[in-house]
C-alpha cells in the first residue's frame, strides 16, 4: 500500500502545520492556567484572548459571544440543554437529519418533559422552511437546524428559517460543524442566536470547539463548576487547543474561497469519473446546494462497508453510509429520511475532500472504485439487497 488518499475530511482533518507551530509554545512554556492572576496565567490568558478574537471576527460576532467547548457534540448539547433548562419546559423544532449530537440531546430532553418535533426533508435532504413554520407552537422555545449535513453535504435554507425564528423571538440554533470555516456566513445576517462550530473539521486540533451565543440569549450552563468562560462553561480552558483553533480559523479566512472553487471542481471530477465507469450509481444530496468537498455516492445492490474495505486495501479512506455494528447493518438514517430506496441506501459511500486532495488522488480513486464494485456485484445474488 504505497499510495494513500484520504477522502474522509468530514470525519476529521490533519492539523495544519502552522496550527501545530502556534500551539507548541502553549504546552511547555506558556502552560499557565488562564484563571491564575500571575504572569504564567496571564500568558495563557493572552493566547486564549487572541484566539477568541480571531473566531469572533470570522463569525461577525463579539468576542464575549464566543464560548469554547470540548467538541461539536458538547456545543450541540449545550445549545439545546442550555435553552431548555433556562426555560424549564417547552417545545423544540429540529430535523430528522441532524447529527446525533442534536438528535440524541433532543431525545433526552423528551425524557425530561420537553416536546420535540422532527421535521422531514425532501429527496435532496433539504428542510422546507414552511414545514418548520407549520411545526411552530405557542410554547416553542427553540429551533435547531443544521447548516450542512455531514453525510450528504446538503446546505439548509437557514436564512429563511432564521427569519421565522426571529419574527417570533424564538432562539435559533445552527449546527455549523460542517460549514464553519468552509462557507462564508454572518450570524447577524442569518439571524442565528446559537451556532455550534468545531476545530478538527477545519485543520485545527481535536478536543476543541465553540458555541456562539448571541448577546441577550437566555441560556444556562450545563457543565457546572468554576467561573470560566464568563460562567458559561466551567472547567480549565484547553489553552493549546483554543490557540490552535484560533489559528486554524485565521488560516481558513485566508484560504477558504480558493479552496471552495478547487474542491467543487475535484468533487465533480470524482462524480463524473465514477458515473462514466460504474453503472447504477447515484449521487445522494443536493445537486448544487452542497458542501464543496462532499460527494455521497450510492451503488445499487452493493453493501457499502465492503466498498470501504476494498478502497481501504488500496490505501483510500472513505466512509460508509451504512454501518454494520455488531451484526446489524443500518442504512443511514439521513438517506432513509430522504426516501432513498434501501437497495441504494445500503450501498452509500461518502467521499469528502480537503486541502491535500489532488486531481491525481481523485483519478486514483475513480480507477480503484470500478473493479471493486464490479467484483462485489459479481458475488452478489441478483436482487438480494
Amino acid at each position: 500500500m504505497s499510495r494513500r488518499v484520504y477522502l474522509d475530511h468530514n470525519a476529521s482533518t490533519p492539523v495544519h502545520p502552522e496550527v501545530v507551530a502556534e500551539m507548541l509554545p502553549y504546552f511547555g512554556e506558556r502552560f499557565g492556567n488562564p484563571s491564575s492572576v500571575h504572569g504564567f496565567g496571564r500568558e495563557a490568558r493572552a493566547g486564549v484572548d487572541t484566539a477568541r478574537e480571531r473566531v469572533a471576527r470570522f463569525l461577525g460576532a463579539a468576542p464575549d459571544e464566543v464560548v469554547f467547548t470540548s467538541g461539536g457534540t458538547e456545543s450541540d448539547n449545550m445549545a439545546l440543554k442550555g435553552i431548555a433548562f433556562a426555560r424549564g419546559r417547552g417545545h423544540f423544532i429540529t430535523s430528522k437529519i441532524e447529527h446525533h449530537a442534536v438528535l440524541r440531546a433532543a431525545q433526552w430532553l423528551e425524557t425530561q418533559g420537553f416536546a420535540v418535533t422532527y421535521v422531514g426533508v425532501d429527496g435532496h435532504g433539504m428542510v422546507d422552511p414552511d414545514e418548520v413554520e407549520r411545526a411552530l407552537r405557542p410554547d416553542t422555545i427553540g429551533i435547531s437546524i443544521m447548516h450542512a449535513n455531514s453525510e450528504i453535504g446538503t446546505i439548509q435554507p437557514i436564512a429563511a428559517i432564521g427569519r421565522l425564528a426571529r419574527e417570533r423571538g424564538i432562539p435559533f440554533h445552527v449546527d455549523a460543524v460542517q460549514t464553519f470555516g468552509k462557507l462564508e456566513f454572518d450570524v447577524d445576517a442569518v439571524g442565528i442566536d446559537l451556532l455550534s462550530f468545531s476545530s478538527h473539521k477545519i485543520y485545527g486540533p481535536k478536543g476543541i470547539a465553540g458555541l456562539y451565543i448571541r448577546k441577550g440569549t437566555k441560556m444556562v450552563s450545563v457543565q457546572h463548576g468554576g467561573e470560566h468562560e464568563r460562567r458559561r462553561r466551567a472547567g480549565t480552558e484547553n489553552v493549546p487547543g483554543i490557540v490552535g483553533f484560533g489559528k486554524a480559523v485565521e488560516i481558513r479566512g485566508r484560504d477558504m474561497k480558493d479552496e471552495h472553487a478547487r474542491l467543487t471542481a475535484l468533487r465533480d471530477r470524482l462524480w463524473d469519473g465514477i458515473r462514466a465507469r460504474v453503472p447504477e450509481v447515484r449521487l445522494n444530496g443536493h445537486p448544487t446546494e452542497r458542501l464543496p468537498g462532499t460527494a455521497n455516492l450510492g451503488y445499487r445492490g452493493v453493501e457499502s462497508e465492503s466498498i470501504v474495505l476494498g478502497l481501504d486495501l488500496k490505501g483510500i479512506g472513505v466512509s460508509a453510509g451504512s454501518a454494520c455494528t455488531s451484526g446489524s447493518v443500518e442504512p443511514s438514517y439521513v438517506l432513509v429520511a430522504m426516501g432513498v430506496p434501501l437497495e441504494w441506501a445500503m450501498g452509500a459511500v461518502r467521499h469528502s475532500l480537503g486541502r491535500s486532495t489532488t486531481a491525481e488522488d481523485i483519478d486514483y480513486v475513480v480507477e480503484s472504485v470500478e473493479p471493486i464494485v464490479r467484483k462485489l456485484r459479481a458475488v452478489m445474488p441478483v436482487g438480494a439487497a
Binding site: 453493501e303 465492503s306 454494520c324 439487497a385
Partner: protein, 127 residues
C-alpha cells in the same frame, strides 16, 4: 487492520463465487436484523461435495468467509456438512473480530441448509 491476511485475500479474490446450473443442493441463510446473506450451491458426486458455488451480500468478512468455506468443504461428505460449525468457518479466515462473528454464522448456516437440501433430494430420488 482488524482482519487477517487470509480474510483479506479471500475478500479481494473470492474463490468459487457465482451461480451454478442445476445444483444438487442449495441453501440460504440470512443474519437476523442484518442484511447479510449467503447462498450456497452444491454439486454432489458419490455422496461428497464435488463443486461449491456461492453468492453473498454483506460486508467484507461475509464474502471472505463464504469463499474460504467453499474451499474448505470441497470433498467432504454431505452428512459431515450437516454439522458444520461457525468456528470452523471462522478458522478458515484466521479469525473474525467480535462484531463480525455473524459472518461465520451466516456462511455455516447456508452451507448446512444446502447440505440438508442435497440430502433431501437424494432421499427423494432413492425413495
Amino acid at each position: 487492520m482488524r482482519y487477517s491476511p487470509t480474510l483479506l485475500d479471500h475478500f479481494l479474490n473470492p474463490r468459487n463465487a457465482g451461480l451454478m446450473r442445476d445444483p444438487d443442493g442449495t441453501g440460504v441463510d440470512e443474519y437476523e436484523g442484518c442484511g447479510d446473506l449467503a447462498r450456497f450451491f452444491l454439486r454432489v458426486r458419490d455422496g461428497r461435495v464435488a463443486e461449491v458455488r456461492f453468492q453473498t451480500y454483506g460486508c467484507g468478512p461475509t464474502i471472505a468467509a463464504a469463499s474460504a468455506a467453499s474451499e474448505r468443504v470441497a470433498g467432504r461428505t454431505v452428512e459431515e456438512l450437516l454439522s458444520l460449525k461457525p468456528q470452523e468457518v471462522e478458522d478458515a479466515v484466521d479469525g473474525l473480530p467480535e462484531d463480525r462473528k455473524h459472518a461465520a454464522d451466516v456462511v455455516a448456516g447456508a452451507l448446512r441448509a444446502a447440505a440438508l437440501d442435497a440430502l433431501g433430494r437424494r432421499q427423494g430420488e432413492v425413495g
